[in-house]
Structure formats: C-alpha cells, structure tokens
C-alpha cells in the first residue's frame, strides 16, 4: 500500500463489505464507522500520492472494543444504559496513535457489560460467536475484538485486560493477544474498570503483526533477549488442563529442551485477591448507577457489581496488601528466568448453551471462571503474550508467555520464533 500499488480505500471498502456480509452471524461488530473510515482512508491515500509515508499501519483497517472513546459516539462500555450517553468529544489516545501510524478505524466491537465477564454474552448487544464454532463462546470480555480478527473481518483490533479479557478470548479464538506491562500504554479515553489491573492491548493473527501494533501504540521498542531462559509454571497451572492440551504443552516443553518447572507460591490467594479487588473497585465505580438504575444493568453484571459494592473495606485493603507481596514474589522468579510458560485457558471454548467449565471436578460458570489461569497473573502486572498453540484438536487452545516487567520485546521475539518453527500459529476459521 505504501508503494501505491493498492489504495487504503480499497482495503477499507473490502473490510466494510466483509463486515456487512458476515457480522450478523458473529455479533462481533457493534457499530460500523463506514463514513469516517472512508474519509480517513482517503487522507492516507493522499499522503501516499503526495510522496509521503503514512506510517507502518498504512491503510490497515482496525476496530476497537466498545470501551474506547470514538469522537462523536457514546462510549457504551457494553452497557445498554449508556447507548444515549453524551458522545465522546475526542478519540481515545490509543486510537489516535494507531491512526497516526496510518491505521483506519472501521468499527467498534462487542464486549461483556462494563468488561465484567469472560464470555461476551451481552443482554443488550448480543452474544459474540466463536468463528471456529458459532455454537461456542468467543471468550471475553474483549470477545468482539478477538472474534473479528479470528474471522478475518479485521487484521487488527484493540481490547482491554483486567483479569484476562485479552488472553481468554485470544486463546479461545486462536489468535495472538498482548497484555502489556501495567501502565505501559495510555488508558486515556478508555472506560475504566479496575485501576489496579486495567491495561489495553492489541489482537492480531501473527506475532509479527502484534509487534508492529505494539510499536505503533507507543510500546517500548527495546532489544529482545535472543536466548531467553524459559521455565514452565507448575502446580496450579498444571491442573484443570484438558489431557490433549496438556500433551501438546509437554511436546512444546520437550522441544524447548525440557523446561525447568517453577512453582509460583500462593496462586489461589492471588486469584482470590484479584477477584475481590475487581469486585470492590467495580462495585464502587458503578455505585451511583447501581443505586439509581439497577434494573437497567445486564442482570449477570449487576448482581456481581452490587455484591462487590457491599464488600468490607478491610477485605479490599487485605487484598491490596497481598497484591504487593505477590508482585515481589513473581518478580523474584525473573532472577533465574526470562519467560514463564503457562496455559491461558485449560481447554477449548465452552458451548454457549452450556457455558460451564470443569474446575477441580466441579462444573462452574464460564463467565466468572474462564480466567482461572489468567486472573492470578494479572495481579503481578508483568507483560503477558497469549498465543495459539498448534495441536491435534479441532478447536483452538492458547498459552501465556509471561515476561519480566517492561520486557514485551522478548515475549514478541520468542512468539515470532515459535510461530516460524511451527509451534504457534492462528488456525484458519472455517
């Protein structure tokens, strides 16, 4: 495109036509921004025609989760009650950065209401379907963002991750997603959930594209460690994994030379601390609306938020205190290791009509529990790359590559290497 061989407008028109044709079956896109996108694509083409360089994302159509501000539109954050909210006066900082790199915003994307869920089952905007099997969940809360990329509607989308909302849908939809280091990317214009845990990040179909998106977003372009010391998280992260997936992880482990096992202490407490911090902060944030307009919430979100708002302050304080200690313990693991590997979700996407998963022999709701392996790691704030592991199963599974604080570069380089060697890769949706 930068050579002028093909116009940005042609890429954008193609994406718009594809969304118009295929989105109804997926429920990934909530708002198609055709006029804005065509105007922006025309501006990119004008730069090329004038001999300029529009940037590394020249003409790349992208979409954003419904919690990013888009000038002129209400930021719904997936809430029906916000459909009539005052329109945003400017674009979110991340949208500005992607468009400054030549990208073209084409659509906004479905999510769980207020990002509180791992399912993208939304009472107002519908249930996002997994492109690999429309009877199954796409995961959440950034389910629209993941499904749009997995289905090939868009090559790049943005989501947010508090407890796993990038990593869970990336794993279930079979694509790459990056949860950056906490605080690494700007949250300006992104509807908040839990300050302690929130980050934003990209989804793509390849590790190389993820790296380009990361840099376009303003991520640190540091040098990658060319020979990272890799270990595999043990204990909590070795149970509740489907046997076939566990076998595939063992094969990757052997390929990497037989990885040392690392036990992360107090993972159960870390997950509970994340759960409690999320409930308390989420409940406090939405308390005025919960008191005044409770019945306008998605019931599945509302009752969780109300319960969170009723948590004792002592519980919240204890969870925060634990979080600081846990972060120090995770940081200590990086004295001897550079990357830690763990499953992102224990198996394939659950069916929509039976949205449960098995944990310790019991069936529990998927909406609250798909983050079993992602939620504890959120508490530490380190960067985590979710990637699709190639295996014998018909549906995607994903792994987490956990890095040292601020070292996204090593994760991206390792993912790119493992993708080129055939161990990682986005399967094509039917």
């Amino acid at each position: 495109m930068r050579s002028g061989a093909r116009s940005a407008l042609s890429f954008v028109d193609e994406a718009i036509a594809d969304i118009e044709t295929r989105n109804a079956a997926l429920c990934a896109v909530t708002r198609l921004l055709a006029d804005r996108a065509r105007s922006r694509a025309g501006a990119v083409d004008a730069i090329v025609a004038g001999g300029g360089d529009p940037g590394p994302l020249a003409g790349v159509p992208f979409g954003v989760k419904d919690l990013f501000d888009v000038a002129g539109l209400p930021t719904t954050a997936g809430a029906g009650m916000r459909r009539d909210a005052a329109p945003a006066t400017e674009d979110a900082e991340a949208v500005c950065r992607l468009e400054a790199a030549g990208g073209v915003l084409v659509a906004t994307l479905n999510m769980d209401e207020y990002a509180y869920g791992f399912a993208t089952v939304n009472a107002t905007f519908g249930t996002t379907r997994n492109p690999h099997d429309p009877q199954r969940l796409a995961g959440g809360s950034s389910g629209g963002s993941a499904a749009a990329v997995a289905a090939g509607l868009l090559p790049l989308t943005l989501g947010s991750d508090t407890n796993g909302s990038i990593r869970v849908p990336a794993a279930l939809c079979g694509i790459f997603g990056l949860r950056p280091t906490h605080g690494a990317l700007p949250l300006g214009g992104a509807f908040p959930f839990v300050d302690r845990l929130d980050v934003i990040g990209p989804f793509t179909r390849s590790a190389r594209e993820l790296d380009i998106a990361w840099r376009a977003l303003g991520g640190l372009a540091a040098s990658a460690n060319p020979a990272p010391r890799i270990a595999r998280l043990d204990g909590w992260f070795m149970t509740n994994v489907e046997p076939g997936f566990a076998t595939a992880l063992d094969a990757l482990d052997a390929y990497l030379g037989g990885l040392p096992r690392v036990a992360l202490p107090d993972v159960a407490r870390a997950r509970s601390a994340s759960f409690l911090i999320t409930a308390a902060e989420g409940g406090a944030r939405h308390l005025p609306e919960l008191k005044a307009r409770a019945l306008e919430f998605d019931p599945a979100t509302r009752d969780r938020l109300i319960a969170g708002a009723l948590q004792p302050a002592a519980t919240y304080a204890a969870a925060l205190e634990f979080a600081d200690r846990f972060r120090s313990r995770v940081e200590a693991l990086f004295t001897d290791h550079d990357v830690l590997i763990a499953p992102a979700v224990g198996g394939v996407a659950p069916r929509i009509d039976a949205a449960t998963i098995e944990v310790d022999g019991k069936q529990v709701p998927a909406r609250a529990n798909l983050g079993l392996f992602t939620q504890p790691l959120s508490l530490a704030g380190m960067p985590i790359l979710a990637a699709p592991l190639r295996w014998s199963g018909a549906l995607p599974v994903g792994v987490q590559l956990v890095g040292r604080w601020g070292d996204e570069a090593t994760l991206l380089a390792l993912a790119e290497r493992l993708e080129s060697e055939g161990w990682l890769g986005a399967p094509t949706a039917p």
Binding site: D266, A268, R269, R271, S272, A273, F275, L276, A279, K291, A294, L295, P299, A300, R302, D303, R304, I306, A307, G308, A309, L310, Q311, T315, A318, A319, F322, A368
Partner: protein, 43 residues
C-alpha cells in the same frame, strides 16, 4: 452475611435493593465470601 446485618449495611448506604436482584446478589456475596476465606487461609 446474616440478613439483618445485610439490611443494616444497605440502610447505611441508603440503598433499597430491587427484589429482582436479591437472589443474584446473595449468591455473589457467597462467592466473594469464599474468595475472602481463600485470601485469608491460603486454601
């Protein structure tokens, strides 16, 4: 938490919960109590 104390907590917040919420809130409070126990006990 016992219903009497829950009612007191809600009154303190000047919050009259709609009937439709009560079952869901109760089950979520139980879930959070379980996580509070795990945070405190480690198991």
């Amino acid at each position: 938490m016992p219903d009497a104390i829950a009612s007191l907590a809600l009154a303190t917040l000047d919050w009259d919960l709609p009937e439709e919420c009560l079952d869901g809130v109760r089950s979520n409070l139980m879930l959070l109590a379980e996580h509070r126990r795990i945070l405190e006990d480690g198991r």
